[in-house]
Amino acid sequence: MSGLDVDLAVPDRVTAAFTADPGDVVAVIGPNGAGKSSLLSALSGLVPAQGTALLDGTDLLTQRVRDRRVGLVFQDQMLFPHLSALDNVAFGPRARGTGRGTARETARGWLDRLGIADLAARRPRQLSGGQAQRVAIARALVTDPALLLLDEPMSGLDVRVATALRLELAGHLAAYDGVTVLVTHDPIDALTVANRVLVLDGGRVLQYGSPAEVAHTPATGHVARLVGLNVLRAGDHWRAFDPHAVTVDLAAPSGSARNRWPGQVMSATPYGGVVRLVVRLAGDGPETGEDVLADVTPAAAAELGLTPGRPVWLSVKETSVRSYPAPAPA
């Protein structure tokens, strides 16, 4: 009864069924147009949806937006520009009938928890992106929602700010006893903040599992690339392998014939201590046209002249490949 039990459809956008327990943080990942935002909008009530979305036993889809026990954090905050940070946060309690004094006191408490009590009097345009997002999170949490929806809360923030906020957010979400649904395109969000990952593609759920499961056996090439893994389809199976398991040669390697492909270097970028190549597979195999990630040492990259346009051969030892069943094609 408690938690979230979703089985809904937004026509032509998304069809999704999943459940989550109180305290769960569900990361929703997938390419643009996969239906991530539609799912969030359906849960918050901003777009109509069919089916059910039971939150602690109550069907959200039959409730008006303002009656839902749902907090929504927008990608670009959507703070009230004419109200101070404090009054932005106090808006929810005020709208639900709390007196001004009590609402402000509660709001101040939340600004304090988010570490921005000193910014209470500022207007949104006087706040940095990270500060504004903290206000938006406080504004959503202050009404004590049973479901917290976050729409790409880190996007638009610069990397340092996003890193700090991600850590804080993880802390707040760990203390939050409702269900969180976090839409993100950042695998770090999905793998560090969430304990469930929902993979959407083409408007339907392709995978729903723990971050470890999804990272280990990604169900789509998109997710594989997000978690920095290569997957190639072989019949009804995915074959996954790490970029550092890929060997790069200028001539066709001898040995096992199965895992080797000709290709062309599309890009070469420093990545941590290695050079990450994106190689587009060529030849007459079924994988032709797929992009494969390959990590090589900077020395090897220089020695082999691995610059964009360079024809190469890739090979992977069979022992480095994980093979698992692929979901039915969308």
Binding site: S44, R66, G71, L72, F74, M78, F80, A95, T143
Partner: protein, 255 residues
Amino acid sequence: MVPATVAVLMLLVPLGALVIGTDLTDLWRQLGTDLLREALWLSVLTSTLAMLLCLLLGLPLAWLLARVSFRGRGIVRALVTVPLVLPPVVAGIALREAFGRTGLLGAPLLEQTGFSFPYTTYGVVLAHTFVSLPFVVIAIEGALRSVDTRVEQAAATLGASRWLTFRRVTAPLVLPGIAAGMVLGWARSLGEFGATITFNGNYPGTTQTMPTLIYVTRQSDRPAALALSLVMLAFSIGILLLLRERWLGPVGASA
């Protein structure tokens, strides 16, 4: 450069001539007359009443046009702008056909209540409202459109009703637009001549506003007409100053 200079001169020379042509020593005597005080008071009164009426009727219409998608919205919006391009005399004639003693609505109104709009101060307010409403509706609709609806959605997810959202979020954000619309409507009413004189005639104390007074004075007393015109010019510039932050580029204000 030359056409641009000509354009500026074209706009400025008549106004300059008006200032130069006015006998400033005689100005105070002209401004002291009862006729002027009455007309000025009537102009300010009717323009203000018309402005409030425009707000009362125009705000809901602007909200509807900006926020609610309904069949025929484009047509309604087009119709609203008709008085904007309609010659004011035609507006006056049309108002007569509708609200005159024998008009479409005027006749039954007269029959039922004994009241009739033409040649009354109410008639002046009616004519002003007719010509000013489009300015108010368009200005407020534009302001409403500039408010991101997702800010309103945010309010809804926080538990606010539509009305509370409008009061606490939308209205404060469109207030500058509403104010601009009201000032514009007020200025349009203040200068209204054609529709008013056609619909209401020109009776001192009840329907004689500043523009009609200037018009009749011009025929008998040119210096007085100049003095009255100068007063109106001063009013107009005053309105422009009120709106300068919106139109003439903000001075240190955010866009």
